[in-house]
């Protein structure tokens, strides 16, 4: 699907230089788009899983009975979601790795940067997951939790057996939004040199002098990732919604 695009555009170009056409022809072929987008997918999936776990824990803290944990949850969410993602990612590399020497068990820049990027995305995205989940918890009628308490369940049991299952079912839609935003946010990882789609795009723009065409290819690439996500999760969200 991609190569004909290049070819079509090239035939429209005024061919001032004979080799120019040759170069435009090759401009997608010399690069490994699949590898770059595969890294994007890996970043997205790992960060999504991580932020779902950490975000759920944060949401549990924010609705929990312990004031210290509630305070921590609130502070975390309000601080982290208000820091630009680029700053978080750059801090992970320049601060955690270069200055403090944290390498997350890896020894090449490639793996270190990948892991640092996932760490940064988890830290950032979990704040949004937490807030989405908290709004889901609020849709569960108070009577449910009260009835659960009345039959003798403790806080953890009320949360994990009664409230969270219902809450999750009502926030599939909002979580899909967060996931789509996360997919696109992974482009920020290029700032610390993770070889994903945005980094390849920068390299191609530098070499080929074809700004708009290259940007369009990558925009389409990202839509191929995010459109199905939105459609599938939209369908799931209807399917699992709690009818009240």
């Amino acid at each position: 699907m991609r190569r004909p695009r290049g070819r079509r555009t090239c035939s429209k170009e005024p061919s001032t230089h004979a080799e120019a056409r040759e170069i435009v022809f090759d401009f997608l072929e010399g690069y490994n788009l699949w590898e770059a987008f595969w890294t994007t997918v890996q970043l997205t999936v790992l960060s999504a899983v991580g932020s779902l776990i950490w975000g759920t824990l944060l949401a549990a803290m924010r609705v929990g009975p312990v004031p210290l944990m509630r305070g921590f949850g609130t502070a975390y969410v309000n601080i982290v979601r208000n820091i630009p993602l680029t700053v978080i990612i750059l801090f992970a590399s320049l601060g955690l790795n270069q200055t403090l020497g944290i390498s997350l068990g890896a020894n090449t820049f490639e793996t270190i940067n990948f892991r640092l990027a996932v760490l940064g995305f988890v830290a950032y995205t979990s704040a949004f997951v937490c807030e989405a989940l908290r709004s889901g918890i609020n849709t569960v009628p108070v009577g449910q939790a009260e009835a659960a308490r009345a039959i003798g369940l403790n806080f953890t049991q009320v949360l994990t057996l009664i409230v969270l299952p219902q809450a999750f079912r009502s926030v599939v839609g909002p979580l899909a939004n967060v996931l789509i935003a996360l997919t696109k946010n992974t482009t920020v990882a290029a700032a610390i040199g993770v070889g994903e789609a945005a980094l390849l795009m920068k390299e191609m723009i530098e070499n080929e002098a074809q700004l708009l065409l290259i940007a369009a290819v990558f925009a389409v690439g990202f839509m191929c990732l995010t459109l199905p996500t939105g459609l599938i999760l939209g369908w799931v969200s209807k399917k699992v919604a709690v009818k009240r």
């Binding site: 270069q98 940067n113 700032a191 530098e206 700004l211």
Partner: protein, 281 residues
């Protein structure tokens, strides 16, 4: 009723915001039209704003080798220094800026390559630079380009220099990519990274900065050839005029003075002024 009031208010805010942005972009358009290639009072030149020694915006004004060359060329074209309007030309935007006519010419560490030559015209070259490394002044472990293979290098995300390292120069070396050279330099300084690599002219500019003086040295490896040219719109008659200006700049020694002034403090062994049209591959 209350809801309707809120809706009306937000609609008003939205409308205001829309008209405000519309005005903003209008202003900008007419601005660039006045100062574009058509105006006979001003000349707009694209330079880098963030490369010390090459093209840098400082509180005192603009300075660097590219700025000196551009000022000289503009003078030869009949524009005095206060008739020059400087504009930032980021690497990815350069071809588009020329094609749209946002700038009259670009002197922004702009290496002549076939891909770019197909889109814009180049006057010059006016400087032959090479990819080189900047290392800590007390680091004696890097003596030849081969030594780089087991080192940690740093360059700017997606830049030609970074790609050269990955593919040709030191494929076994570890490469860290950051958005700016300054971020790399921080790493070199605290020993997390061994060398910053890019064009020696840019490296010399960094090494010559007051805050870095004596802390870094150039490796002196000529790993690639970068022919810096002045970019003009395809088919523009400026190309011939700029070439004449560049020739004059070399023959009246202003070229040498500009190189000395900008790169001198870094102990940079620069190449003699290249002949116009002589592109070293």
């Amino acid at each position: 009723m209350k809801l309707r009031k809120v809706t009306a208010a937000s609609a008003a805010v939205l409308a205001l915001a829309l008209t405000a942005t519309a005005c903003g972009s209008d202003d900008k358009d007419s601005d660039s039209a006045d100062t574009g290639a058509g105006g006979d009072k001003k000349i707009t030149i694209g330079i880098k704003f963030d490369q010390p020694g090459v093209g840098q915006k400082t509180p005192q004004g603009y300075e660097g080798f590219d700025v000196d060359v551009a000022t000289y060329v503009a003078k030869e074209l009949g524009y005095s220094e206060d008739q020059i309007q400087w504009k930032e030309a980021k690497s990815a935007d350069r071809e588009t800026m020329l094609q749209r006519g946002d700038v009259d010419f670009i002197a922004a560490s702009y290496s002549i390559t076939d891909e770019r030559d197909a889109k814009v015209d180049f006057a010059g070259p006016y400087l032959l630079a090479h990819q080189d490394v900047l290392i800590r002044a007390d680091d004696n472990s890097i003596k030849t380009p081969e030594d780089l293979n087991d080192k940690k290098l740093c360059s700017v995300v997606g830049s030609t220099s970074a790609q050269n390292v990955k593919e040709k120069l030191a494929p076994k070396a570890q490469l860290q990519e950051y958005p700016t050279y300054s971020a790399c330099l921080t790493g070199v300084q605290n020993k997390a990274i061994d060398a910053l690599t890019t064009d020696d002219s840019i490296l010399a500019g960094y090494a010559a900065q007051d805050s870095f003086k004596g802390k870094f040295k150039l490796g002196g490896f000529k790993m690639t050839n970068e022919n810096y040219g002045i970019g003009v719109k395809n088919g523009s008659d400026l190309k011939a005029k700029i070439n004449t200006a560049l020739e004059k700049m070399v023959s009246d020694k202003s070229w040498e003075k500009a190189v000395e002034a900008n790169f001198g403090p870094a102990n940079y062994k620069y190449e003699p002024a290249p002949k116009i049209g002589n592109i070293v591959k």
